[in-house]
């Protein structure tokens, strides 16, 4: 598992060489992403020319599928690994730039609704995963990691919590594997369910942002439905990510109270350290657009730059999903994760449908 999810170690010393190491992998991400974009256009054009009724398969799905096929059929040369690992950078860059496509009023309205739903979602998810972990007799710290991962923001939250609650590497790998495997499944199930329910873009985007754990998969699941749904998914997921510090702090205090983790002396510094700073960039970009710093054409350009960044992210999502490695991680954590995720998906779907009736999303 570790080989499929670990980032290369940055070695001190030759930083130029380190920078050059990412080039092959980044080119691979760009090539796969662009191939997805070309496939979207050419397949749709071909189907149209033949008068076939064919579902519009977005570049997002093509990029993920190409990445999945490559990572699960070929042995990826080490040369590409450092660049592939940059997918998380492209994700964060895309999110910051996407802020330009949000009017501040929308951020405040949808962000406010998101925040309310996120608080409910986090509370229910933590309680549910803790209960399931106890029922299936998982190790307490593994249960904590799964609960944090499914309640807040997937892999980043697990990594953030790992140090704070002094969890084992093995537990972290289990939790990450479960979250990634379930994230990959949600890419296909969430849009299908939403189409079946005829959900509107905002409701679906909100659901994807609340229900899908890992940020990259949440963004991809939103974009798979529509561009507008992708935007809302980013907003809801970003709101969820912003809560990471509070949840990890609560768990750190809990485990420190049991004498099994370091005592947190400065809570404010702890919260700031855990806070995902790219959220501030997203808000700043939205504010700059709100103050008319950019013309309409420039806002479109910033939005398109965001799409290019996401293109590389989606290729990375496919490339780092190694189904063989995930299957080696054991069944019990996966069952707990899967059960929890299905229940959380149902709960968040109910929350979103309720919010839609009350506020008309």
């Amino acid at each position: 598992m570790a080989s499929s999810i670990s980032l290369p170690r940055a070695e001190s010393g030759n930083s130029l060489l380190n920078a050059l190491r990412i080039v092959p992998g980044v080119l691979l991400l760009a090539g796969i992403g662009y191939a997805g974009k070309i496939l979207e256009h050419s397949v749709n054009a071909y189907a149209k020319s033949r008068h076939w009724t064919f579902p519009n398969i977005e570049y997002v799905l093509w990029a993920i599928l190409i990445g999945l096929v490559i990572s699960n059929t070929l042995a990826m040369p080490k040369l590409f690994q450092p660049g592939i690992a940059t997918y998380e950078f492209w994700l964060k860059l895309g999110i910051v730039l996407l802020g330009a496509r949000f009017v501040v009023a929308d951020v405040l309205k949808l962000g406010g609704i998101s925040l309310g739903l996120v608080v409910i979602e986090i509370t229910l998810s933590l309680a549910l995963m803790t209960l399931l972990g106890r029922l299936f007799k998982l190790k307490p710290k593994l249960t904590s990691l799964l609960a944090i991962g499914s309640a807040v923001c997937g892999v980043s939250a697990i990594i953030a919590a790992k140090g704070a609650i002094d969890a084992d590497d093995e537990d972290s790998s289990f939790a990450i594997a479960a979250i990634l495997a379930l994230g990959a499944l949600s890419l296909f199930t969430f849009p299908a369910i939403a189409h079946g329910l005829h959900m509107n873009d905002v409701s679906y985007g909100m659901w994807a942002g609340l229900g899908v754990d890992n940020t990259a998969e949440a963004v991809a699941a939103g974009a798979l439905y529509s561009d507008a749904a992708g935007k809302v998914a980013v907003l809801a997921k970003t709101t969820r990510n912003a809560m990471i510090g509070f949840v990890v702090l609560a768990y750190a205090l809990y485990w420190a109270g049991k004498g099994q983790a370091e005592i947190v002396t400065n809570k404010a510094a702890f919260l700031w350290k855990k806070f995902p700073k790219f959220v501030l960039g997203f808000l700043l970009m939205s504010l700059l657009v709100g103050f008319h710093v950019f013309s309409k054409g420039q806002v479109t350009s910033l939005g398109n730059l965001s799409k290019w960044a996401f293109l590389l992210t989606f290729a990375g999502v496919g490339l780092r999903t190694n189904l063989r490695d995930m299957s080696k991680q054991g069944l019990r954590p996966f069952i707990v994760g899967a059960l929890g995720e299905v229940l959380i998906a149902c709960l968040t779907l109910g929350l979103v449908i309720g919010a839609n009736r009350i506020w008309g999303l």
């Binding site: 980032l7 001190s12 953030a160 510090g245 790219f278 501030l280 420039q298 350009s301």
Partner: protein, 45 residues
């Protein structure tokens, strides 16, 4: 970059001076400046 920061990439590496979040912010702001001052006339999609 702090070892257990929320922005720590999957398995943190020691010795990095900037977090991924900081890099994303810096690059985004540079791109925004480039767009603002017409270094890129238009970015197509």
């Amino acid at each position: 970059m702090s070892k257990d920061s929320a922005s720590t990439p999957i398995l943190p590496s020691k010795g990095r001076s900037f977090s991924l979040d900081a890099w994303a912010l810096i690059v985004a702001m540079l791109l925004a400046l480039a767009v603002k001052f017409d270094v890129f006339k238009t970015v197509p999609w």
